[in-house]
């Protein structure tokens, strides 16, 4: 799978139209530098050779050199990773806390007006374009109310993190809420729930301890799916809020046709995604003992 990912990222480079080296260096590039770049990336050799060269360097965590910045892509990306990681973690926190909360309330009050309102909001959250939501939040909370900064990293200040995290988390909050609600309702119908109630446990204990733990399996699935939302939303959210992360780096690199950086950033996003999904699979083993048996068998 990971190898397949590298083939596709490489194909991105191989398919590039025009001369990326020249595009990146601009008109003032002297022939010698161009020649050196082409040789370095084996641009004059057959594609399989180019791929092998590139893959061998990749194995040493060498992503090449940024055309634009004239320094290693790895350096450029590593600098930007903490900002994106902070944003993604905060957004996940937002979506899990609000999503599970809203979903649980909707499930307890299933088929009530409150349930319909909350689920309506969830669909609205899923359908709202990330970048527009970001602009609207900035309009209300920064421009109009003046509570929070419009954009920027603010040296990592929490105030600066709030709007980007809510923006990036909103999309997924809706999904988590819907999934929590439906899996809670699914669990509620099962026999052990009736047993728990028959033991005289309170409704909140029944739901909180018995139902929620069982519903957790699908919630973890949704967090896994949410990883895709996070990674897709990152370039947009980071652009709206001038957040110095890998997403904004990618967008800028595409604009400048800095292909080594584009490849590196896309690769990092894909690896995080693949690894994230792997972690989700491992989480199942922790939550659901039945799956451990399935793996052993």
């Amino acid at each position: 799978m990971v190898l397949g990912v590298t083939v596709l990222v490489f194909a991105l480079n191989a398919a590039a139209l025009g001369d990326p080296a020249r595009a990146a260096m601009g008109q003032r590039a002297d022939p010698e530098t161009l020649e050196r770049l082409r040789r370095e990336y084996a641009l004059d050799r057959p594609l399989p050779v180019q791929y092998a060269t590139w893959l061998a360097r990749l194995a040493r965590a060498d992503l090449g050199e940024s055309f634009r910045e004239q320094r290693p892509v790895r350096e450029v990306i590593v600098e930007r990773l903490p900002a994106t990681a902070r944003l993604a973690l905060a957004a996940t926190l937002v979506s899990v806390v609000f999503g599970v909360g809203i979903g649980a309330i909707a499930a307890v009050r299933a088929r009530s007006t409150l349930d319909h309102v909350l689920m309506g909001l969830a669909v609205l959250g899923i359908s709202t374009p990330v970048f527009w939501l970001g602009l609207m939040l900035a309009l209300v909370f920064s421009v109009t109310l003046g509570w929070l900064p419009v954009s920027g990293y603010g040296d990592g200040a929490l105030r600066n993190l709030v709007l980007p995290a809510v923006t990036l988390g909103a999309l997924h909050t809706g999904t988590v809420a819907r999934m929590t609600r439906s899996s809670l309702l699914e669990v509620v119908r099962q026999d052990f729930m009736a047993t728990a109630r028959a033991k005289g446990l309170s409704e909140w204990t029944v739901l909180g301890k018995h139902a929620l733990r069982n519903a957790l399996v699908s919630v973890v699935t949704v967090i896994g799916i949410g990883l895709a939302d996070l990674l897709v939303g990152a370039p947009l959210t980071e652009t709206v809020f001038a957040w110095p992360g890998v997403g904004r780096l990618l967008v800028a690199a595409v604009g400048q046709r800095d292909l080594p950086v584009v490849m590196g950033a896309v690769l990092v996003f894909a690896l995080v995604y693949v690894l994230g999904n792997l972690l989700v699979d491992l989480a199942y083993l922790v939550i659901d003992p039945r799956m451990r048996d399935a793996v052993r068998a």
Binding site: M1, G4, V5, V7, L8, V9, L12, A15, A16, L17, G18, A23, V123, L124, I126, S127, T128, P129, V130, F131, W132, L135, M136, A138, L139, V143, V150, L227, A228, L231, V232, A234, P235, L236, T239, V240, G247, L250, V251, A253, V254, G255, R257, L259, V262, M263, A265, V266, F269, A270, Y273, V274
Partner: protein
């Protein structure tokens, strides 16, 4: 879910259908409905960034262009990309899904491996990366990229349906009667996979619209003078404090159109998919 089997008693479906009809109607009739030429700049610079007034119900942008007219025309781009991309995606996805599901074995393994790899990327990130392949960004490139990456969902859906259908009696019967591979696939398997296909395609149209707007917002999609809601939003961000209407309305239009598509898709799923019926 309320056991709504008739379309008119399913509120979500109804709301979605109305929103989509409004959106499609407004987009198709934009030349008639738009009060002004969406490209016409204000003469003398008097009416730039003007708030909503009687003559410009949604205000004007930095060049004095009528925002309402631009929102209406932008809908055409959004609709064209959303539906156009999805049409090609459905054809591509059906062919790949049918081949993989029907023939199984190495064909299936190879095609699904490709699907897995494409799906191993967060979609928009790969789309952004692919734009770098072209020397200049543009709406046509967005179209190509979205088709190139969009077929995987449909292919998976169709393959799944075909796998469960191909062992059924009517398929055996068709084969016993001498039906060729193509006839069985196109005449027997595909029609029976139509319901989930329609659901996935409807939601896909909304996804394409968001993707186009997102890429255009990032400056990697539609370029001026093409009118795109995403590009309008990017312009609007610059004047967020002084002229918020420039950003508010194109985004609201996009939200309503996508919401309509999602509600319609969810509704179709409830109405069409027998497995979800209680």
């Amino acid at each position: 879910m309320p056991s709504a089997r008739r379309p008119l008693s399913h509120h979500g479906f109804l709301a979605g259908a109305i929103l989509v009809a409004l959106f499609a109607g407004a987009a198709l009739l934009a030349p008639v409905l738009a009060p002004e030429d969406p490209h016409a700049v204000a003469s003398g610079g008097g009416a730039t960034l003007e708030g909503p007034t009687a003559s410009h119900p949604l205000g004007t942008d930095a060049l004095g262009r009528d925002v309402l007219s631009r929102v209406l025309w932008g809908g055409r781009v959004s609709l064209a990309v959303g539906v156009g991309v999805e049409a090609l995606v459905v054809v591509l996805g059906c062919v790949i899904g049918l081949l993989a599901g029907y023939f199984g074995g190495p064909v299936d393994a190879a095609l699904m491996r490709i699907t897995d790899v494409v799906m191993a990327f967060p979609s928009l990130v790969l789309a952004i990366g692919l734009i770098a392949v072209f020397e200049q960004p543009g709406l046509d490139k967005v179209f190509i990229v979205l088709v190139a990456l969009g077929w995987t969902t449909i292919a998976r859906v169709v393959r799944g349906e075909v796998l469960s259908l191909k062992t059924r009696d009517f398929v055996h019967a068709a084969r016993a009667l001498g039906g060729g591979h193509r006839a069985i696939m196109v005449r027997h398997l595909l029609p029976n996979a139509l319901a989930p296909l329609l659901v996935a395609a409807t939601i896909g149209v909304g996804g394409n619209m968001v993707a186009e707007a997102g890429l255009s917002f990032l400056g990697l999609g539609a370029q001026a003078p093409t009118i795109s809601w995403g590009a309008m939003l990017a312009d609007g961000q610059t004047f967020l404090a002084s002229a918020p209407w420039v950003a508010v309305f194109p985004g609201a239009a996009l939200l309503l159109a996508v919401l309509g598509m999602n509600l319609l898709g969810d509704g179709l799923r409830d109405l069409l998919d027998p497995r979800l019926r209680a």
